[in-house]
């Protein structure tokens, strides 16, 4: 049993509740014990850091300190690419300077909290590959995703900058989605937009440019013959799924591309019913995925 200090983020409990729900459903099947950080705050998704860097660093240091208090937890886990990126950025500064860390900890002191350098904070994707292991994941698959063509969509915050996120030849975290899709028995569809931006950060500032990005990547995936996309980022999911009808209008083509959260894809392969994974809650119904999985279940019986 892997016990983790679990930071679900805001959007996974807000506008994409199926993400947090499916994570909670899937965790026991992978022997992951989620100790939820109910008291922790929003990572600021880069916007608070844009407003005031020290404020973002302090707010995230608070989350890290709370995670470090969870007894027996081996690491902190998140399910949001954006949280991963925003938190890694703050952690990079906090870990780089003892003086700065002391300065930030002084602000946390009245609450009895203090962040100690060296937290391990991993997105569920990284944890799957690095802690659980692909072989272990493969051995737990009950319903392999045979013939399901899945396009990875990472989200910027979890692939760049490489150095901050610990991506190199030995830890190719920017290729983990492909590895996980394969381990689950699916077929990886590579397409131009898989590591590009969904456009969400500018959706209130330049809606057309934002949705053009989402629409273009979805279109690329359609052209590459993907059945669905999978993403570890709920904010990407908002632009790719919730806003997909609007994106269709901007790029003037039909898309109808289902977008799955990472725990949903894992859950499907582990034999969980699509409805239990909240897949009925998407704006673009993942019909192609669900029809496919039921037919496989039927075939196996």
């Amino acid at each position: 049993m892997l016990r983790v200090a679990y930071w679900p983020g805001c959007v996974s409990r807000g506008f994409t509740p199926e993400l947090h729900g499916s994570m909670a459903r899937v965790a026991p099947l992978l022997d992951i014990e989620l100790v939820q950080l109910d008291r922790a705050n929003c990572s600021g998704c880069g916007v608070i850091a844009e407003h005031n860097q020290e404020l973002a660093d302090t707010l995230n240091a608070r989350t890290f300190a709370l995670a470090q208090q969870v007894e027996g937890a081996e690491l902190m886990m998140n399910i949001c690419s954006t949280c991963q990126g925003a938190q890694s950025e703050c952690q990079e500064r906090l870990d780089a300077s003892a003086e700065y860390r002391a300065h930030v900890n002084a602000t946390l002191a009245p609450e009895g909290l203090s962040y100690e350098k060296g937290l391990t904070n991993k997105n569920f994707l990284w944890l799957l590959v690095e802690e659980l292991g692909l072989d272990e994941l493969r051995s737990r698959v009950k319903r392999p995703l045979t013939n399901l063509k899945v396009g990875p969509f990472y989200g910027c915050y979890i692939v760049r900058p490489r150095k901050r996120l610990g991506i190199d030849a030995d830890t190719p975290r920017d290729h983990y989605l492909e590895q996980v899709i394969e381990a689950l028995g699916g077929t990886v569809i590579e397409y131009a937009g898989m590591r590009k931006c969904c456009g969400f950060p500018i959706v209130t500032m330049n809606k057309e440019a934002s949705l053009k990005q989402a629409g273009r990547h979805l279109g690329d995936a359609v052209d590459a013959d993907a059945d669905c996309l999978v993403t570890p980022c709920p904010l990407c999911h908002l632009n790719l799924d919730l806003q997909q009808p609007a994106a269709e209008g901007v790029v003037a083509r039909e898309l109808q591309m289902p977008v799955l959260h990472l725990p949903q894809l894992v859950g499907l392969a582990l034999g969980v019913a699509p409805k239990e994974l909240g897949m009925n809650r998407h704006v673009v119904r993942p019909t192609s995925v669900i029809d496919w999985s039921t037919s496989v279940v039927g075939a196996a019986a």
């Binding site: 805001c10 302090t58 780089a96 300077s97 009245p110 931006c197 440019a209």
Partner: protein, 386 residues
Amino acid sequence: MAETHRPPEQFKLRMRRYDPESGEAPYWDEHTIELEPHRSVLEGILQAKARFDGSIGIRCSCRAAICGSCGVRINGEPGLACHTHLDHARASAKDGVIEIEPMGNMPVIKDLIVDMDAVHWKKIQRVTPWLLAKQPVPEREYVVAKDAMVDVTQSMACIQCGACVSDCLAMEVDPGFIGPAALAKAYRFVGDPRDDRQRERLVDLSEDPQGIFDCTHCFKCVEACPKDVNPMGQIMRLRRIAISDQHIVDANNGERHEAALTTLVRDYGLLHEAELVPRSYGGNSWFGKFHPAAGMELLSLLPTAIKAIARGKIGIKLALFGHKIPAADLQAVKRIYQTVEGRSERYELNLYISGEDEDERTPVGVAAGGTDGGEDPAVAGEGSAS
């Protein structure tokens, strides 16, 4: 010189060739060159040009990552050909063949040479890239506090190679976006204490729909830059100064969006998504949704919202009231805001300038570092498994 001498090896180069004047389509051209593995991709290209095909177009000069002439894409990633070792390039190649293409977002003049004038330099000119000095101009040199200038040295490290422009994802969908290189250059003057037009510059860059708020925060430029200029970081600083110091409220919702998100996290501890959109359009208060601009946007979002509610994706209660962290924690968050925002000056640690502490980074598990706070009985309830 390499520390240990390694004999020359063969490397395969696959180059994108294109001559717009020929009327022919672009094509791939492969050559095998022989060089020591630590030599640069540029040297490889030049050997192919010398030995096999003199018509290969590549722009270069210093061969030492100073002049910024030889920007290309190597295995799909932007960088300087003279600053990339052949063995590293081969290691990152999909099939062992080093793939070299011209940079993106700019028209190709020939083969690996792109038209920097048509895009990059136009954008640089757009930001008035010179000092508009405070008056009166001193008779001799300016005397400026050392710290004040250190702040802009990072953006001054730019060698104008265009690598960041090549892969800017905002520019990919919105070619008019001023872009990372030019905005980093803009910060070089906005952050210069001798410049007299900070406010005018920032009003201009904030109000331009393709200005600082058009950056999609994708980190592509941060990754692309061979000189660690961190263009996106400079854009964030432009936003910060425009909003927090100059109090510029722009027509692109940039200021309102930042204010709304920052305030919502202060008041809820978590992001209240349903409030973010109306406040970003209509103003940063609960009443923002009644502003005509917010009304228009909300109306356009209505079909999406209805669908999301019908699917059970978004609950009515959540949409109306948001979600909050426990009261005691919310108090703690508010206190953090008060303390940090109450400082007379913003504290900004820039690792480019300060560097990291010398002790090495040793990642350990979260629970490995027992903290003083861990003994606080008030936080014992944290361990509620979901």
